[in-house]
Subunit: 356 residues, 2 copies
């Protein structure tokens, strides 16, 4: 509703000045800028072309362009978003916040300047503060594939607790007692869920949590290799590994095959899969799977619905299910544990002496 001229009239400035504020031109007085921004936030504003409002949302990457390290999570997500945008007739822009946002403009200003009406946010290492700021400005936004405790932050994620717990219980039911957990070394809610699932499953089965079996590393192939070396090199080695990250899982599998460790006869592996990488290798991975495409579609639908209906106060803290899929990398616990008394020097983490 609020047009540049309307705002200008209210503040006794010219439309030109309002436009300059919107586009972050340098030569506007700081006090004037503040007044205009305040009024814009108050009245709301949607970018227009001529008389038509632009129906564009963005997928914003706060840090890097598009991440390809995460395998096909990104294309699956994108594909889902595009499908979710089909019916409401919205367009999608790709945005790199770090690259394009001017330091002295607000996030709202930045998004308006880019002509978008809402944003789907990806959450990586260090940008939770960024996301909280965006939420605080009340610009229509939704985080995908992560959760936030802060109220006001909308998110849509896959809850991997139930299926993670199922996965660990599956391993226990196969007779495994030494189950390792390979975690991401930066805490996000997804990985916290998986950790909790691991703890709870062991506790309910009356099994102790051995700190030597829990390892935190960056998500990468080499981390996976390190996990395998460490966990099979313990005095009392792990007979199963639950890896909470796709790349780590691939690294574990690769290293196991390299060392001639038979999966699942000597070692069971459960991974996490964002798309369908689990089926690309043999044996097919038993894995906790989340449907990135569904996440994208639901997020796009929610966002466009909020924009279209004008319900800026709407909140989304939704969770969709993940599925634990049993494939070829999990089997009965071996009688004689794999690789006992070998590679003892490789223990690089945990506290092997104290573990009973």
């Amino acid at each position: 509703m609020a047009s540049v001229r309307a705002i200008a009239a209210q503040l006794n400035v010219s439309p030109a000045t309002v436009s300059r504020v919107l586009n972050n031109h340098p030569d506007v007085d700081e006090a004037t800028r503040e007044r205009v921004l305040a009024r814009i936030n108050e009245l709301g504003y949607s970018p227009r072309i001529g008389r038509r409002i632009t129906n564009v949302i963005a997928l914003a990457y706060p840090d890097e362009p598009v991440r390809s390290e995460y395998g096909s999570f990104e294309p699956a997500l994108l594909s889902g978003i595009m499908r979710g945008l089909e019916e409401p007739q919205f367009d999608l822009k790709l945005l790199n916040i770090r690259r394009d946002k001017a330091p002295n403009e607000t996030y709202t200003q930045f998004f308006i300047r880019k002509g978008i009406r809402g944003v789907i946010l990806r959450c990586f290492r260090n940008n939770r503060p960024t996301i909280c700021k965006i939420a605080a400005e009340r610009f229509p936004a939704i985080v995908v594939a992560d959760a936030f405790d802060e109220p006001g932050v909308n998110f849509l994620r896959a809850d991997s607790y139930p299926s993670s717990r199922q996965a660990v219980e599956h391993l226990i039911s196969l007779g495994h007692r030494r189950i390792a957990l390979a975690m991401h070394n930066v805490p996000d809610s997804d990985h916290a869920d998986r950790r909790r699932a691991y703890d709870d499953a062991l506790f309910c089965a009356g099994l102790p949590v051995d700190p030597a079996l829990v390892i935190e590393l960056p998500a990468s192939l080499t981390s996976g290799e390190q996990v395998l070396d460490t966990m099979t090199g313990l005095d009392d080695p792990a007979t199963a590994i639950f890896a909470t990250n796709p790349m780590t899982t691939l690294g574990i599998m690769r290293r196991a095959q390299e060392k001639g460790i038979d999966v699942p006869k000597q070692l069971s592996v459960v991974g996490v899969d964002d798309s369908d990488v689990r089926t690309h290798i043999w044996p097919r991975l038993s894995a906790v799977t989340q449907d990135a495409s569904a996440l994208g579609m639901e997020a796009a639908r929610w966002l466009t619905e909020v924009i279209a209906s004008g319900k800026t106060g709407a909140s989304c803290r939704r969770t969709i299910d993940t599925v634990f899929e049993v494939n070829g990398t999990t089997g009965p616990a071996p009688q004689r544990q794999a690789r006992r008394h070998q590679d003892r020097g490789r223990v690089t983490t945990g506290d092997a002496e104290k573990s009973d």
Copy 2:
């Protein structure tokens, strides 16, 4: 330069009518529409917001939204495009032509309506005609990762002939004489190059091309499995396979491991990799690799350069190099060929009897 009003004045119609044509409104006379479109094509036109020209290009998927089947080619490509857009300050939109284009509008009209000034095109199964039409309209466009004989079609691709030939020669130098070729069953220039490299390498080594060793299938995991079954099931089985597609390669590897065929001791495999999937499995794939990220970056740079300079006649038929990377899946030809006299019934293609 050409504004809606300028065009309107030239044709003695109102700006409103020109705008209606641009936006494909139904209630404009067919003759008028033709006249306006002709003049727009003649004078050129760039979408604007107010007085500012919009610096937006699109990555257009002619058929489906975004393809995730191709592994991490798409994210790598996107990442490259975003980097290529960094310096010229362009934004990127994602477009689905099939979904959004109205049947009765031209491609130029469609792109202008979407507010973009140039387009990077992905080429899939059946859209070569589409791409030729876009090129014929002379809208700034560049095809990425494919080649065209038609003049006027700009493209940027990776030429896999030299490294494909290197790959086959590498196999020959390892003593392989029965080298299978697993091709995509839809002909594109990339796969044609690889076929030619295969033929030439064999010919120069004085080896015959056995039709039984050449198989054409869709790009998929199951195709790869079929390739492995077929080629190891021949009376005179293949000792090496060159697969021209990433998915097929993964399928071959998966099936080989499933059947307990030792790669590379019993069978050598060379694949093609768009990103870094070759390193995700063990043994690491010997593969012809193309840098999707570089393709995206170069394409984005060329396109923005053409748009900025206004040289609409510029042509791009560039080729960047691919690299053949020797990893763990190629080794000396086995003395006794793998799996001889087994699975004879599985031969599903080729002409086993006639092959000498």
